[in-house]
């Protein structure tokens, strides 16, 4: 459904009403994107309902910079509106002008608006030091970041506190905004994958799959079955590595020295296994449009062996960790995200699944080989505290191992088929990759990253990128991070942050 904005932006509420109507009738808000379109700018709301994707578009005539905002009726859209204001200079009406989020600039030229031709000129950000939102005796602001103690990504949390509680928190991610969406423009598809891998480096595989999924949908290309199995292998190892990383941060915060050593050793082993499979510890270069770049560095049987060894060791340590009271006590009841909050912000990934938002696009909209692999149903959870999120992560790891074993079996069969085909000389083309021609069109691609659903809106013209819009799970979930401190104090901060397990690179773009 496309509504064109004829005259008065202030009066036209058809667009937000249409989106809100869909949300009220069971659709899940996925994201809001601004792109150039013939005759102006298009604002596109993407929603998901079960297996289906739904869209609502609004066309802004050239020169118009205001549009009716969604955030009042769809709170999950708020961060998207802030990002669109920062990057495209389009302001939502119906509410006060939102705070800058990803790139606060001095007003004026140089913004990478979707309708602007050519690269924008360099500009300086203008990070305002905002006045405190809270008034009260003894309330002060702790600016935590962007350079923080420890090896962290750059982000600033403005913690407003009377001393212990955290009544108000603001997340400022603009410090490391890299302008990646603008960079996608005019790139070749093959270069686009490499850039997508670096949008959120700890979820390289998921981003590459979502990007390639969109490209393959435009081209109408299916990937070979063996490539689907390889994609699953890399995606699930990425998930395990991320969940182990989150666990490491938990135990580090709790001062559990041996558990820290154990879990960081497990993570290193997973990273080395990924390195053996692809040559890259982050699985980079594996996913290509139309399939994968080639055979994995390990055969199915070797992979199976490595996976079994890993699972045995990790399971034992997870069991022991959950039976360690001095650790579990720090997480129980900490950083509660209520199911209502999770629903309002349509939280995704382990954060959502710990608070009753169970959607997983591997199941609801299967891609790669997920459609024919058996996926274990995880126990539904909704307590929403840091401990529940850790339980969800552990459950997901066991699910990942289950998928890995099936995918390894698939690879074993592929090897056998290949040998047979080579022997009889009836090999037919590459089992890893189907060609993607110089196609034109627009499509949405998705993948379930360790942080949650990643979506790419990609438009191609004769095989090169017109634009790509990225919606990472980190961006989507970080919007609710500041609301996860209802009864918590400063010392809980590290656990709540670790339990969200988000990447700032993915949130800032």
């Amino acid at each position: 459904m496309v509504s064109a904005l004829e005259d008065d932006a202030f009066a036209d509420n058809a667009f937000p009403a249409a989106v809100a109507d869909r949300v009220e009738h069971g659709a899940r808000f996925v994201g809001l994107f601004a792109t150039s379109a013939p005759g102006g700018t298009r604002i596109l709301a993407v929603l998901a309902r079960g297996h289906a994707i739904e869209q609502e578009a609004l066309l802004l005539p050239a020169g118009r910079t205001r549009y009716p905002g969604l955030a009042q009726r769809v709170p999950a859209a708020e961060w998207y509106e802030r990002a669109i204001l920062d990057l495209h200079g389009l302001e939502p009406t119906g509410r006060s002008r939102p705070d800058p989020l990803v790139f606060p600039l001095r007003s004026g030229a140089g913004w990478p608006r979707p309708t602007a031709g050519g690269p924008p000129r360099p500009t300086d950000p203008d990070p305002p030091s905002p006045p405190p939102s809270l008034q009260g005796e003894g309330v002060f602001t702790i600016p935590y970041g962007p350079v923080r103690s420890g090896v962290f990504e750059a982000v600033e949390y403005l913690v407003e506190t009377p001393g212990e509680d955290i009544p108000h928190l603001r997340t400022r991610v603009f410090y490391k905004h890299r302008g990646i969406e603008k960079r996608f423009e005019d790139m070749s598809i093959d270069d686009g994958v490499l850039l997508a891998e670096r949008y959120e480096g700890v979820a390289s595989v998921a981003h590459a799959m979502a990007f390639c999924g969109a490209v393959e949908r435009v081209a109408g290309v299916e990937i070979p079955p063996a490539a689907g199995a390889v994609r699953v292998v890399h995606a699930e190892l990425e998930r395990i590595a991320n969940h182990l990383d989150s666990t490491v941060r938990h135990v580090e915060g709790a001062g559990q020295a041996v558990a820290f050593a154990r879990f960081s050793l497990h993570k290193e082993r997973v990273m080395r296994l990924r390195g053996q499979l692809s040559g890259s510890r982050f699985g980079r270069g594996v996913i290509v449009p139309g399939g994968v770049s080639g055979a994995p560095g390990l055969g199915g049987a070797e992979l199976l062996q490595a996976v079994d060894r890993l699972e045995k060791a990790i399971r034992a340590d997870c069991r022991l960790l959950l039976a360690t009271p001095s650790f579990v006590d720090r997480l129980r009841g900490t950083g509660v995200v209520s199911p209502e909050l999770a629903a309002r912000y349509t939280l995704v990934g382990p954060v959502g699944r710990a608070s009753g938002q169970h959607e997983d696009v591997r199941v609801s909209r299967p891609y790669a080989a997920y459609g024919h692999l058996g996926q274990p149903l995880a126990e539904p959870r909704s307590d929403g505290d840091a401990l529940t999120r850790l339980h969800v992560r552990f459950d997901e790891m066991w699910g990942s191992f289950h998928l890995l074993r099936q995918a390894a079996d698939d690879l074993d069969r592929t090897e056998a088929d290949r040998t047979e085909a080579d022997r009889t000389g009836r090999g037919t083309g590459s089992p890893w990759r189907n060609a993607v021609g110089p196609v034109s069109g627009e499509a949405l691609g998705w993948a379930e990253a360790p942080q949650g659903e990643v979506a790419y809106l990609v438009e191609l013209h004769e095989g090169s990128l017109v634009h790509a819009r990225v919606r990472s799970a980190s961006f989507h979930n970080l919007a609710a991070f500041a609301l996860a401190f209802p009864h918590d104090i400063l010392t809980d901060f590290a656990f709540i942050e670790a339990s969200f397990g988000l990447s700032i690179a993915g949130a800032s773009g």
Partner: protein, 299 residues
Amino acid sequence: MPWITRGLSEGIVTTRYPRRPDGYGPDFHGTLLVDPGRGVDRATERAIGECPTGALSVVDGQVEVDRGRCVLCGRCATLQPEVFRFDPSFDHSTIGRSALHVRGGAEDEETLAWIRSGLARRTKALRRSVHIRHVDAGSDGSEEWEIAALTNPVYDVGRLGIFFTASPHHADILLATGVGTVGMATPLRTTYEAMPHPKVVIAAGVDAASGGMVGPGYASRGGIGDVVPVDVYVPGSPPSPFGLLHGILLAVGLVGTAGNRGTTGRPGGRADRPRPQGTHPQGPASAVEPGDRTEAGEA
């Protein structure tokens, strides 16, 4: 109590590097090697033209790879495997940006020696206890993982007297990652200025050296080089923990540079490859494989 036995259950898993060679195995994409012996044919030209970051060029009739730009995507090795190939070695950190340009001709050894001796003078006092302040200036997040890995039991940099510190006032090394976003320019500069002399800056990864795939743009400066003066560059996208460790040890003068080894490679089977001194011949560190135990106490 159960954690004590759990902690002891696998013996020592820590690498012996740099005392003993170690690495990630023969198929690891540690760096890109160029075979200088071959002329620039059409396939090579095509490979150079297809490089997504412009890391390849022809200088004086020889192919040159700029490791400060190479993101190790392997496209050139697919298009022209006779000239370009991956090598598992990781010890390619360099002093100075220009030394990341690798080709047939000899590097400007004189300049390099001069820079190196200057750096050695500065870092002489740091060798036995080095404190590192990490700053993210717009990374993709993977560099932070690899830096954090240095404290895991496999790399355990504490054994080498290397520590991470929260305060820049206590730091000797500024370990910076990322493309140099405009938003992080001031925090990065402030951190650098808060550090006492002598101080060393390491640019970790191609993003920090050149911007990598992101490059310069409205929000990125294409590397951190014009915000802080960089002494040591660690190539890789992201650099591996061994690569980072090599860069840190190079910064404090505890190891040498790998030199021009990238140019002496011969094409052929894996067994034919020259074995860089920092790379384990038999593949990944066996100590990291579960169940294997290293000779405890030998160190």
